[in-house]
Assembly symmetry: C2
Homo-oligomer: 606 residues x 2
């Protein structure tokens, strides 16, 4: 898989110095930010031009890809910090004392460095796209050039720096392509609130009960929209899985290679010191030990691969679970997720959890992978050194010896177990007129008493099986924040799960399709101008003509019922109703969702 | 707590030889069984005399104490087998080869030895009580005499045999007293089915909705009747906790004492060989090592005590959970226990699980205690040797050094965490007209992005905390079968929990209060004789007079509704309704529940 070379690799200084490049990029970024600030202020002054706000990058209305790429980029930088000799590019040959401080500073520096990329994508303006393309091209170009200059580094494993920078290069390349495409196509006009997804959801929800299966079918078939924050979390977790696997391999395998290369005839004496005699021939001892270290390496790589696969599968299952949870919460099924009645409303812990969720999930995936690797490694070691190797070489068959010597116990347990099942089937169950009932109760009691002690012994196997299955299940699911590892009555004590549920509550309160549909309707009204307050009120009550005809009256009554129905099924919308009186407050709800101007509007006009 | 003496204890042969005693007891038991069989057959022939059946000892109608004591006795014997030199009393100085077989035979022998005690209590007859008292007195007397003769044995710890036989003596003493009391008072006439518990339950269930809180109050206040099987399981678990704690102490502490007694000046050289220099003075090294082994012992005893207390608390919580589950299942709340719709009916796996449950639970408690002790021991060791001793002696402060050196990281994390909470409280939540909403979304997004990396670092702490809390929770709850240790969607994979739920289903189907009340009513009818089939039908439909008055008609309609109500809320009763046509089948339902003859009956007569 990997070929490690034991020659000393000299430190390599790339043509493009990292320090110089970072200073240049910081200055360029500063200029870019200033330009974008001016543009953004002009946007705010002339409302008609408004398209986006520079810091609105985590809103549902934004392109998911950009935010995902930037977060992935930043996380890649963090994971390279773990064993980097110089955490910050501004100082070379950092001393061990100041490394700690450097790392803390780096944690704050890198998000700042890549921030302009996010802003360029968020401010929906051609100038922004040009600047974004410029920035991402220079980042990508320099990184590529450096890696081409110095593919090998004197760090633990010569290709580690190259392999670790692959996700960064991928993210930067995606950003380049995306900025160019956006520049060519221009800012997209199909806004989040205009899309038919929300209105279709509301229309189907408001329909009569008879169409309920159709509703669910629609919601199932329509492409489900993940909240941006969850999509970012999933992508960063994916990047984290790559980096953790890479680190796990790179930190251990080269050491094993060095150990294997250093095995010589002295090993026989060393083992003799511990009373282990593998063979009388010293060369054979060397061969055996070399073979064992090779097996060790194979076991380790298998464990890392297994843990990698387990985490990828768990990530996919998490996504499915997120979708189920979101859909359930949209429908008001709060109990199934929280196991208690809680309101869906932004709360203080909720927002703190929402801010941290991506970070927490990533860290939990990393820790989970490390623990999984260790556990799987131990399991593989046991399997190989206690089962497979002894069977192949026919010696050290401890496990089989122990199992074999206990055969009377196994046979007894098997026989008793079979006896219980057979007796139950033929003697203790009576089928009569389609029902089942107990039969021969006295014999059942007698057998229960006589087999009580053997059932205690059988219980030991059940207990060991319980310990094994519980540990494995919990270790495998350690990386998932959407599952509690505790019993359902104590779910809230699992910190990861409680963060997840809190964050989800904030997410739901901000991206509920019914609310979004209503916001879209409200914006349509506002764009029309004039009599806005009245119009909104009318829209809410379903009145679009003021004619006093009977049809209007019927429609108004029906609309009011529909409004009540909506509010009853979506109580989180209730809080917003008081704002509908004036345009001013109506605007404040939409704080952060972009305004729409230049578009045709067919629903608002009569 | 314990004082161990290192003098050699000579093997002690009690005056009453175990082999001779067992042979005598077996013969006496055989005679007793024959007498009881004759008595039981006579009972069956003259139905009017019937009081009990010899093997009906696990029925709800039986005294709980007897069965609990005998099961406890049998289990005590098993737990003494674990380190006994002679598993069976018939052979002395068993060779290691045949010990395995002897143990398996002993597992079948001891339940047989104590079986007559159970039968004497179950067959509700004065002769049975006399024989039972005789048997239990001779068991108790001989055991007491043996222990008085030889309080010390050459086994691992001199008083182990004495301490381990305490639960046996307790159980036997209880049986003696109980048999004497029963003989004096005579067989109790207040049968299970006559008690007002069941009829009161049904009457309250059938009342109108308005009295619902009263119903629940009644069910809460009335002494809850545990099924006999669960009571036996709980008692045996209690005995198991005692035996496991005793074994855990006895297997380790004497070894530590021997090690401590053997510490001399050579230990300094031995430690030097490993490169450990505790002190330059050899005597001081001896003192330090002695002190450390003493600390080790203290840690171990603390761990055992803690695990003992944890298991006692868990046993009590289990009992509360059993009661909640049973009450819920009586009311038909199947979903909350099984997480899926399942019928409450005896099934093949259900009966097998019901037979094994006591044994499985006991074994799981034992394994749980052992694992808990090991884990708590490691925790205490870490606490004492890494925290307390270094603080007292001011050296080897590894843990504090590591924590202290990382102070910039701690301070940063604390500050960032505080920043997030403060910002959320004062900037990101807007309270308006009683609702809470997000405010300053752009700043929230900016902060989320900038603090992303530090949140990853914070996530590492969350992940470690999650691992710790999950492991501790699951290890503490390992001994409980009424809790699944897996996530609620995978509960069925936990073997212990799935056995418990299966067994509970069988238990419920046999001890449902509504069914019991109906069986009581049915027996009352049968005792009256004549027109039984018609009477039962009448009773079911609430008709007691055949007068065609309007009042009867109304009552009949109301009774039918009540019947329907009962059946709808207790669907498990539905299966029994087809049997109500003939006396023959009605009797077959009651197979095993004792018949009632000589008693006044006020309800059945008009």
């Amino acid at each position: 898989m990997f070929y490690f070379c034991h020659r000393v690799i000299l430190p390599c200084d790339p043509t493009v110095d990292d320090k110089l490049f970072n200073i240049c990029m910081l200055s360029v970024s500063l200029v870019v930010m200033l330009i974008l600030a001016v543009l953004s202020r002009r946007n705010k002054l002339c409302q008609g031009f408004t398209r986006g706000s520079p810091a609105n990058f985590l809103d549902q209305t934004q392109q998911k890809g950009m935010a995902m790429a930037v977060f992935g980029l930043v996380f890649s930088k963090l994971s390279m910090l773990v064993i980097a000799p110089d955490p910050l590019p501004f100082s070379k040959d950092t001393s061990a004392d100041s490394k700690e401080y450097m790392k803390i500073m780096a944690i704050f520096y890198y998000p700042l460095l890549y921030y302009p990329l996010l802003v360029c994508g968020t401010l929906q303006h051609k100038v922004g796209y040009v600047l974004g393309a410029l920035l991402s091209f220079s980042h990508f170009g320099v990184l590529g050039w450096q890696k081409f200059d110095c593919p090998k580094t004197p760090e633990i494993y010569k290709f580690y720096a190259l392999l670790a920078s692959l996700p960064q290069m991928g993210c930067l390349l995606y950003l380049c392509v995306q900025f160019v495409i956006l520049f060519v196509k221009g800012p997209k006009t199909d806004e989040d609130l205009d899309s038919s997804y929300y209105t279709a959801y509301v229309k189907l929800t408001l329909k009569k009960k008879s169409s309920s299966p159709l509703t669910s079918l629609f919601i199932c078939l329509s492409v489900f929209r993940f909240p941006l924050k969850l999509a970012v979390s999933a992508f960063v977790s994916f990047v984290a899985i790559y980096h953790t696997a890479l680190l796990l391999v790179v930190l251990v395998v080269p050491v094993l290679h060095i150990v294997r290369a250093g095995i010589d005839e002295n090993i026989a004496f060393l083992l003799l010191g511990f009373g282990i005699i593998l063979s009388d021939d010293r060369m054979e001892v060397v061969e055996i030990v070399t073979f064992y270290t090779w097996l060790l390496e194979v076991c380790y790589l298998c464990a890392v691969t297994l843990s990698l696969l387990v985490n990828l599968v768990m990530l996919m299952k998490s996504m499915i679970m997120h979708r189920t949870n979101l859909r359930g919460l949209y429908k008001g099924e709060i109990y199934s997720i929280y196991n208690s009645k809680k309101t869906i409303r932004p709360s203080r812990p909720g927002i703190v959890c929402w801010m941290g969720l991506t970070g927490y999930q990533t860290a939990i995936v990393c820790v989970g992978m490390a623990i999984q690797t260790v556990v799987f490694f131990i399991c593989f070691l046991f399997l190989v050194f206690m089962m497979i190797v002894p069977v192949f070489y026919g010696r050290n068959l401890f496990v089989f010896d122990i199992l074999g010597r206990a055969w009377p116990a196994w046979v007894t347990l098997l026989l008793v177990s079979a006896l219980q099942h057979v007796a139950t089937k033929f003697a203790f169950i009576k089928r009569d007129a389609g029902t089942r009932d107990l039969n021969n109760r006295e014999s059942l009691f007698l057998l229960t008493y006589l087999l009580f002690l053997i059932n205690v012994v059988m219980g030991l196997i059940v207990a060991i099986w319980r310990v094994v299955i519980t540990s494995l299940y919990n270790i495998i699911h350690l990386g998932r924040v959407d599952l509690s590892l505790l019993h359902r009555t104590s779910e809230a004590y699992d910190p990861a799960y409680s963060y997840y549920t809190n964050a989800l509550r904030v997410e739901i309160s901000q991206s509920h399709p019914v609310m979004k549909a209503f916001c879209g309707l409200l914006l349509d009204m506002m764009v029309e101008g004039g009599r806005v307050g009245q119009k909104i009120k009318d829209a809410e009550e379903g009145i679009q003509e003021n004619g006093p005809s009977k049809a209007t009256h019927t429609r108004r009554i029906r609309s009011r019922w529909q409004l009540m129905y909506t509010l009853v099924h979506n109580p989180s919308l209730l809080g917003f109703r008081k704002h509908f009186q004036t345009t001013q407050t109506a605007e404040s709800i939409l704080n952060g969702t972009p305004n729409h101007t230049a578009k045709t509007n067919s629903k608002g006009t009569t």
